[in-house]
Symmetry: C2
Subunit: 188 residues, 2 copies
């Protein structure tokens, strides 16, 4: 683990600023509901970033012994961490949108596929993205409030970001349904 930070580092750090003292396990849950629509992570990486930030001195860690559950480590952002977040926001993005989509890739080479199989792949993708959309709409009810604000209204940036997931998934689903109709037209 080198002494450096990456976008995902700040993603975890930002959530920690919102959530207060939290374990890696819980941060992963939060990440999956709050940010999964715009940044893929695995739970392992959350732990990686927490360790990294501890080395960087951006967070404090405290161990808690538990009997019924594995022991946990609780992380808490400190002033260095908050300062790092602000510094990050003053820099330029290091890269543009990264995307990989196996369904679209398969569709593109649909000429090599049996249309029946491809149609099935598309139906599964539709179910998948419908579930995502439902999940994102459900998540809107659990948007955290801005840290250090004494209101408990949902953070306005979070709220606005949630619209992106909505627009994106609806557009995707629209395309998928049209694509399915197209592929069904190719059968036999």
């Amino acid at each position: 683990m080198t002494q450096e930070a990456y976008p995902i580092t700040y993603g975890v750090l930002g959530l920690l600023a919102f959530a207060g003292p939290t374990s890696g396990y819980d941060l992963n849950q939060i990440f999956q509901t709050a940010l999964a629509s715009l940044w893929n992570v695995t739970h392992s990486q959350i732990y990686n970033e927490l360790r990294r930030m501890e080395e960087l001195g951006w967070v404090e860690m405290e161990r808690f012994e538990q009997t019924n559950r594995p022991n946990k480590k609780i992380y808490r952002i400190n002033e260095n961490g908050r300062e790092a977040l602000r510094r990050w926001q003053a820099t330029h993005p290091s890269s543009g949108l990264q995307m990989r989509d196996e369904v679209l890739l398969r569709f593109t080479f649909g000429s090599f596929a049996d249309p029946r199989e491809l149609a099935q792949t598309l139906r599964e993708a539709i179910a998948d993205h419908e579930a995502r959309l439902a999940q994102y709409q459900e998540n809107k009810n659990h948007i955290p409030s801005t840290p250090s604000s004494n209101t408990n209204e949902p953070d306005k940036y979070f709220v606005f970001m949630a619209r992106f997931a909505d627009i994106f998934e609806k557009g995707y689903l629209k395309w998928l349904r049209e694509a399915l109709a197209f592929v069904e037209g190719m059968i036999e």
Copy 2:
């Protein structure tokens, strides 16, 4: 390089089936215009996958000496390769959509940013995505025709896939413009 194939492997293989005998350099160009909207790659990875597929026996390689340019290797898909493409199409996707977007991540934690800086980030993102959209629309004029079809009409799956990039970028731009207006409202 292990004896295995991944989605990106089939992406390169599929393009090779469309393009006929091609060098890694040229395949990268083709990939960037044809598939960049749905799968990120670097040119290095194209070369990696070509070597991998040669080991797998899916493609044939031939060296060409050049004087004014570095020597090149020309790759050509063989029957094993075409069979591999068809087999792949008969399997289930190994993963869903993968996405990482630093602009959205920064926006989400906009509470820690100076709105002026965030607005600037959004303006640059708008310019970036406008350029992408223009690029994708230009690309529509260069869609390859289905291999082994004796027409030279653009491949129908490629054409349909191109609509996805269109829908996606337009939706993204819509959101970005709304987000910019929102952030500008937060200034001062």
